[in-house]
Amino acid sequence: MIRILQYLGKSTRTSFTKLGRATYFLLQTVSGIPSVLLRPRLLLNQLYSVGVLSFLIITISGLFVGMVLGLQGYYTLSDFGAEETLGVMVAASLVRELGPVVSALLFAGRAGSALTAEIGLMKATEQLSGMEMMAVDPIKRIITPRFLAGLLAMPLLAALFSAVGIIGGQIIGSGLLGVDEGAYWSQMQASIDFHDDILNGVIKSIVFGFVTSWIALFEGSDAIPTSEGVSRATTRTVVNSAFSILGLDFILTALMFGE
C-alpha cells in the first residue's frame, strides 16, 4: 500500500518538475524571438526543413482525405436526396476539424519527430555544449528558429490541407458522382462563415503548431543523451503531440462552436 502511494507521489513530483522544465524552456525560447527576427536567414532555413519538406505529404493527404469525404458524404447524403449539400459537408468538416487536426498529426509525425531526433542527437554529440563553449546561445541559435518556423508553417499547411481537400471532394463529387458543380460551391459559400469557420480553423492550427513545436523541441533538448534516450524522446514527441492535439481540439471546439 505504502509502495503504491510512494510511487504515486514520485510520479507526481517528476511530472511536475518536467512541466516546470518545459515551461522554463518555453519562456527561454520565446525570449529568443527578437534576436531570431534580426537574423531571418536562420528562420528561413528552418522554414524550409519544417514547412517545404512537409508540403508534399500534407497536400497528398489532404487530397485523399477530401476525396474520401466526397465519396462517403455522397453515399450518406444521397439517401436523403441531399447530394447538393456535399460541398458544405466536405468544406465544414475540413475547415473546422480535419484540416487543422490531421495536418497537425502529420506535422508531428513528419516534422516534430525530425526536430526531436535532430536536437537530441545534437545534445548526445555535445554540439549544444560546444556552442555554449563558443559563447553562442544554443536556444537563440538552434531552438527558437525551429519553434518560430513550426508556428508559422502550421497554419499555412492546415490551410493548404483544407483547400486541397475541398478541391479533392469536388473532383470526386462533381467529376465522378455527378453532383452539380455550381451547387457544390454555392451551397458551400452560403453555409461556411469566414469568421466562425475559417478563422477558428486558423486559430486551431496556430495552437497546434505551437504545442507540437514546443513538445518536439523540449523532448529533444530534454532527452537522455544516448541513442536509446533519443529514440525514446522521439516516440514521446509523437505520442504526446497526438494526445495534446486531440485533447486541445476537443477543448477548442467546445469553446469555439458551442453557442
Partner: protein, 155 residues
Amino acid sequence: MQHTSTQDTLVGLFVAAGIVGLFFLSMQVSNLSSFGDEESYTIIARFENSGGLKVKSPVSAAGVKIGKVSSISFDPKTYQSVVHMSIYTQYNTIPTDTSASIYTAGLLGEQYVNLDPGGSEEYLQQDSAIEITQSAIILEKAIGQFLFKSAAEKK
C-alpha cells in the same frame, strides 16, 4: 550555403502556396466575398411569427436573392416579430404594397423571406415598413391541426 537561392525560392513558393490556400478558403469557400460589399437599404416587416428565420437568412423576390435579414427582434407592445431586412440598392423599385412571407426552401431547408411585389407606383424607401405579411408555417402546428381535423371527422 551554395543552395541558398534555391532554398529561398522553395520557401517563397511554400509561403505563397499557403497564402493562396488561405485566400482560396476565404474567397471561394466562405461567404466573405459577399460580405457587405454591396450597398443596401433597410426595410422592416412585422410578422406574427417568424419561425426559424435567422439573421443572414436570404430575402428573395421571384426566386432571386435580393438581400438578407439583418436583425430580428421582438416587439413587447404588439407581440410581433420585427424583421429588418437589408435590400441591395440596385433593387430600389420595390412597390409599397409588396407582401412579405416566410417560406421554407424545400421540406427541411432553411427559411427565407419571400417578397411578392404589388402594383403600387410608389417604392419602398430606407426604413419603410411592409404592411402585408404572412407568418412562417410551423410544421408541427399544421400537422397538429390536420390530425385534429381528421380525428373530428371520424366521429
